[in-house]
């Protein structure tokens, strides 16, 4: 592509990047301002001087390490469980022959269309009756099986030649070995993107942990960040923003770590 033809594309890409980056940059800048400064000139691009008071306040107010540990553990457990369950489910739907296979795939697709609003009341009641409120189980178990994950794995497996599976079987590999040791490494880009999507969604989730926790035992960081905001007597924005910067750091680190795989997954599918 010539330079002249690439220019509009480049400008568009820059505009899209700015649309994502500017709010984040604003959040970071606001977190190192003082409240009177924010109130007087909220859109000023730079602070008068760097003030780390908001970060000191965040770490003094919240047990950040504990909340973050719980949140990361929960998000990793959910993403890990989803991958572990989506692999055999997707394999069955893509490669095995059984009665009702099309119907089963239809059920998976239907699950994608069911909003969580329709299911969380019975799930909550179930967990309340089984005394699982305020446990890690209540945070992880409802999300362990993922329709989206099953769908993605099934679609990715359709492009894997059946001969590979036949060869593994002839070598005496069990079905579990085929799924987890032969096919899983081949689906790495898909699994990495599934892990990321799941991790980010559940790491940021406020609603479900709020519903499922009534004490501090397994409180997550997004609930902790909500402690920094007091609406009834006035919001101290620099502290709220500092909390959100801290909250976002693990996700940024994770993206930096697996960016290569993610790009490969997207480009492979494109």
């Amino acid at each position: 592509m010539s330079r002249a033809r690439r220019l509009p594309l480049l400008l568009l890409a820059c505009a899209a990047a700015a649309a994502w980056l500017l709010p984040y940059a604003w959040m970071v800048v606001t977190s190192v301002k003082t409240l009177p400064e924010i109130v007087a000139r909220p859109t000023a691009p730079l602070p008068d001087h760097l003030d780390g008071g908001a970060y000191r306040e965040v770490f003094a107010t919240l047990p950040v390490a504990r909340y973050m540990g719980i949140t990361v553990f929960m998000a990793v457990a959910i993403a890990g469980a989803q991958i572990a369950l989506a692999l055999p489910a997707g394999y069955a739907l893509a490669k095995l022959r059984f009665v009702g296979k099309r119907w089963a795939f239809g059920v998976v697709l239907a699950c994608l269309l069911v909003p969580s609003q329709a299911t969380f009341v019975p799930v909550f009641l179930l967990f309340a009756k089984t005394h699982l409120i305020n446990t890690m189980t209540a945070l992880v178990l409802p999300f362990a099986a993922s329709a989206l994950g099953t769908f993605l794995v099934r679609q990715a497996l359709l492009s894997v030649p059946d001969e590979i599976i036949e060869a593994a079987r002839m070598d005496g590999a069990s079905e579990w070995t085929i799924v987890y040791r032969v096919l899983a490494p081949m689906l790495k880009p898909t699994l990495v993107s599934l892990f990321l999507v799941s991790f980010v969604f559940h790491y940021n989730d406020y609603f479900w942990p709020l519903v499922m926790t009534t004490d501090d035992a397994v409180r997550t960081l997004p609930l902790g960040v909500a402690l920094l905001r007091e609406q009834g007597t006035g919001v101290r924005w620099h502290i709220v923003m500092a909390g959100n910067v801290v909250l976002s750091l693990p996700v940024l680190a994770l993206f930096a770590l697996v960016q290569r795989h993610l790009v490969r997954a997207v480009s492979a599918r494109g």
């Binding site: 107010t61 009341v121 909550f124 009756k129 709020l210 006035g234």
Partner: protein, 426 residues
């Protein structure tokens, strides 16, 4: 935020409809020989810090009771969780709820009547802030709630802008309109400094209904929503926003709109606003101009509703826990705790001896805006003791106010619609 609240409300409604009031724990929770009181609260940041300090002080002051305060989101999230937990048998011993929902919870028989508790009738509350003063018709009811963080609407103005325009804080609706006209400035670049701003929300509309001489409920119990006065209040808003263009309706709903008004006010983009007395510290601490508080202006009379929350004990908790929770509530109403809570958060002091002590210590002389807030309690219009009140607020009136003001729809038609929906069983 709204979607999250909607989900929580759906959860609460679904569960509560099935089993409200069913859950009851038999045995009290104990730790190290002390009765544990679980206290669900809905504050963040500084208010939370003050509360937790008071809780720690209470826990250190005696060895019988251990209060464990747990954050449960904002007021409405906390309420939704409370209703859900009551039905699921996992309710705390103590919580605090917005004033308007108390009659509903009382009718659902989930609140503990407090009259039999030690010293319950002897706490010298500021009359307008107690259950008996905050509700009309509550004198026939047992005491179900104890005032905690209480507030009223109030007018704030920039002293600098008032001086520049030689305008006094308005005392009537006519004066408000005139002052807003004189304080509104339109720049050549299209920027506007608005004379007046108030969130288009239930609380302020109720204040205006009272000021226009109306009441939400007729003496026969019919939900009239102020009748002609309710419509007059809406028309006055429509006039300020649409005809005179001297008021900006702040963007956002609930507290987002309130916060937006605060920020515009602090940036000098609005000259006068109505807000909550609870914001007085925040505004004074962050304004680069003198903040002038004034009572809300009257139409045919002065009137303000009360707001904030009340302590409630949950009936399903074991008796020993409820007695322990009462000990904490009683302690919170002592002068020193009341004073600490009020002066550090901006909420109104809830007992008369605390007010007297604040006066004697020179607090009101040093903080005249706090005095204005307290004096305005003489104009409090009590809420009707109607179980439907909270539903009417959240589901019937609040969603229609913005529509009425922004689109200019006929106030009579909108309130007729609201009255019909309010009369329908939930």
């Amino acid at each position: 935020m709204l979607a999250r609240r909607a989900l929580l409300r759906a959860l609460a409604a679904s569960v509560a409809a099935a089993a409200l009031g069913c859950g009851r724990r038999e045995r009290p929770v104990r730790r190290d020989g002390r009765v544990v009181v679980t206290f669900w609260y809905a504050y963040g940041d500084l208010v939370r810090k003050v509360l937790l300090e008071l809780v720690a002080r209470f826990n250190a002051s005696q060895s019988r009771v251990l209060v464990e305060a747990v954050h449960q989101g904002d007021y409405f999230e906390c309420l939704a969780k409370l209703r859900t937990a009551i039905a699921a048998g996992a309710a705390p011993t103590l919580s605090h709820v917005v004033c308007e929902v108390v009659p509903y919870l009382a009718r659902a028989r989930v609140l503990e009547a407090l009259d039999g508790y030690d010293g319950a009738g002897e706490i010298p509350f500021v009359p307008a802030l107690s259950q008996q003063g905050a509700f009309r018709g509550a004198e026939r009811e047992p005491t179900f709630c104890i005032p905690f963080n209480r507030s009223t609407p109030i007018a704030f103005a920039s002293g600098r802008l008032l001086d520049e325009a030689r305008v006094a804080p308005p005392r009537t609706w006519d004066e408000l309109l005139d002052a807003a006209r004189r304080l509104t400035r339109r720049g050549e670049g299209g920027e506007v400094r608005w004379g007046f701003e108030v969130p288009i929300s239930w609380w302020y509309w109720v204040a205006m209904v009272g000021q226009a001489g109306g009441a939400l409920v007729a003496p026969d119990g019919a939900l009239t929503l102020g009748g002609e006065a309710g419509e007059r209040a809406l028309r006055f808003w429509q006039r300020l926003v649409r005809d005179e263009r001297v008021m900006r309706p702040p963007p956002g709903r609930d507290y987002q709109a309130w916060q937006s008004s605060n920020e515009s006010f602090l940036q000098g983009r609005i000259a006068m606003m109505w807000s909550s007395t609870a914001f007085v510290r925040y505004l004074e601490d962050n304004a680069r101009f003198p903040v002038v508080a004034a009572p809300l202006p009257r139409d045919v009379r002065a009137s303000v509703p009360t707001g904030g929350t009340m302590f409630v004990l949950l009936r399903g908790a074991p008796d020993e826990e409820k007695r322990a929770a009462w000990e904490f509530v009683r302690w919170m109403c002592d002068d020193e705790q009341t004073i600490a809570w009020s002066t550090r958060t901006g909420y109104l002091p809830v007992t008369r001896p605390a007010v007297d002590k604040l006066d004697a210590r020179g607090w009101y002389a040093a903080h005249p805006n706090d005095r204005v807030a307290y004096d305005q309690l003489a104009s409090v219009d009590p809420w009707p003791w109607v179980p439907e009140l909270f539903r009417v607020e959240r589901d019937v009136v609040e969603p229609r106010l913005e529509d009425a003001v922004l689109t200019g729809r006929d106030a009579h038609a909108i309130l007729d619609e609201a009255r019909a929906e309010a009369a329908r069983p939930a």
